[in-house]
């Protein structure tokens, strides 16, 4: 086995033991290799799992890698053990999170001015869920707290990096497209649902 193969297979084992997202930095330090090199190996592993169509996949969360199940196998896992899914966020929490994700770092005042309503409780709830965190203080009057999203946010919403979020202009396209689909062929949607 070449050195590269050895490292890659070691990374695989390490991810298995670690369970949680494994920081590329930590993995690179173990072999005393460049972070970029380690990152590439993880990426190669990720691609291998995908091309082989494995039931286990590797996902990246902000320069960390983690073994997880393939999303299409959801139904079978449900049949096996009906895992409890995390409670969905409320509409107001989702709106607040959207504003923070796109405008971060952002103060509570700015969020409230966009939503036109007080957001203390919602922000508190998002903090408790570790979806957002304090990232510093604004230089403005009163030095208000600035909020930003966390790694948990990236993980729970399936983004590998914060730059993965689609551009604001594209969002309306994405939404419009899905709306158009619904109008054109509602039957198609129903079929999709049954397939899940």
């Amino acid at each position: 086995m070449s050195r590269k193969e050895t490292i890659k297979s070691a990374f695989e084992s390490m991810m298995f033991v670690w369970g949680e997202p494994l920081d590329v930095k930590v993995a690179a330090d173990i072999f005393n290799i460049d972070r970029k090199e380690a990152y590439d190996y993880f990426k190669e592993l990720q691609a291998e799992y995908e091309t082989q169509g494995r039931g286990i996949r590797i996902r990246e969360i902000d320069k960390s890698f983690q073994l997880c199940t393939w999303e299409e196998n959801d139904e079978y896992i449900q049949r096996l053990c009906t895992p409890v899914k995390e409670k969905r966020l409320t509409q107001s929490a989702m709106e607040t999170l959207a504003i923070i994700a796109y405008k971060q770092p952002v103060t509570k005042g700015e969020i409230e001015s966009i939503r036109g309503i007080k957001c203390d409780r919602v922000i508190e709830g998002l903090m408790k869920k570790e979806l957002i965190e304090e990232v510093g203080r604004s230089t403005g009057i009163g030095r208000p707290i600035l909020y930003g999203t966390t790694k948990v946010f990236l993980k729970n919403f399936g983004f590998t990096h914060i730059t993965d979020l689609p551009q604001m202009e594209d969002i309306s396209d994405v939404i419009r497209e899905s709306e158009d689909e619904e109008r054109e062929d509602p039957l198609q949607i129903t079929l999709d649902w049954q397939e899940r």
């Binding site: 199940t69 999303e71 509409q91 989702m94 966009i114 036109g116 919403f157 399936g158 689609p166």
Partner: protein, 251 residues
């Protein structure tokens, strides 16, 4: 108990306004302020009855809607070239509504993403102590420290024994007054009179004497026995009450 009913339909004043404009099929760039303000106020009045604090949050926008409405009533000055130089009083509101709508769309998109990601499962971080725990200590122990440890143990044991010689341990009370009374009643079977000495003859421990004494006090209180003591520190004699004997027989 106060029940708080939350009308979750609208997430805030802008949410309501967007809904009203869309359901009236108005262009967001050409809001008919008078009509929308009327509908908006109707809703605010309705929720005011349920939750004043929440209605308060909707009031700020209500005020600016009315302000815009009144500005719209004023005749707009046109310059000589016929160009409308005055800013449309609605434009600031339109900007805010557009921004809010944008985030509402992003929220919907995030919701979709969340739904998708919830279909992926991960293993929670396992208990790694299984791998990181130090090996059991005795395995790595030489004979010399082992012997030392044993000697230490023997010394400690010796010291403990010396201490224990001088102190007796206190035992927990094993019997209740109630059960002792039952025992005493058995002793009275077929006898009318008993001395206190006879009652504690079998077991003269301090605990038993106290327990028996307390039991007799209880029997005296119940008027089951009569008590007699001629001189201080003298013999205590108990005489069973005849009535009680009758009851005993009846049992």
């Amino acid at each position: 108990m106060v029940y708080k009913v939350k009308l979750d339909v609208f997430e805030g004043p802008f949410d309501l306004l967007v809904y009203l404009i869309e359901s009236a099929e108005m262009s967001i760039y050409d809001i008919q302020v008078a009509e929308i303000t009327k509908q908006y106020m109707e809703y605010v009045e309705r929720i005011q009855k349920v939750d004043t604090a929440l209605a308060g949050e909707f009031m700020v926008l209500a005020a600016s809607l009315i302000e815009i409405k009144s500005k719209m009533l004023l005749p707009r000055k046109s310059s000589e070239e016929g160009l409308d130089l005055l800013e449309d009083p609605r434009s600031e509101l339109v900007q805010k509504l557009l921004e809010y709508k944008m985030y509402k769309q992003i929220a919907a998109y995030l919701e979709e993403q969340e739904e998708r990601t919830q279909r992926i499962y991960e293993k929670p971080k396992e208990d790694l102590t299984l791998y990181t725990k130090e090996a059991d200590v005795y395995l790595s122990l030489d004979l010399v420290p082992f012997v030392k440890a044993f000697e230490l143990f023997l010394q400690k044991k010796k010291r403990m024994e010396e201490v224990q010689k001088r102190y007796s341990s206190i035992k927990q009370q094993q019997m209740t007054i109630e059960s002792r009374i039952e025992q005493i009643k058995q002793l009275f079977r077929g006898r009318k009179r008993l001395k206190f000495r006879d009652l504690v003859n079998e077991d003269r421990t301090r605990q038993n004497v106290v327990l028996t004494f307390l039991s007799m006090l209880e029997l005296i209180r119940q008027k089951a026995v009569k008590v007699n003591q001629n001189v201080n520190y003298g013999e205590i004699t108990f005489t069973i009450n005849e009535k009680d004997m009758v009851a005993e027989k009846g049992e």
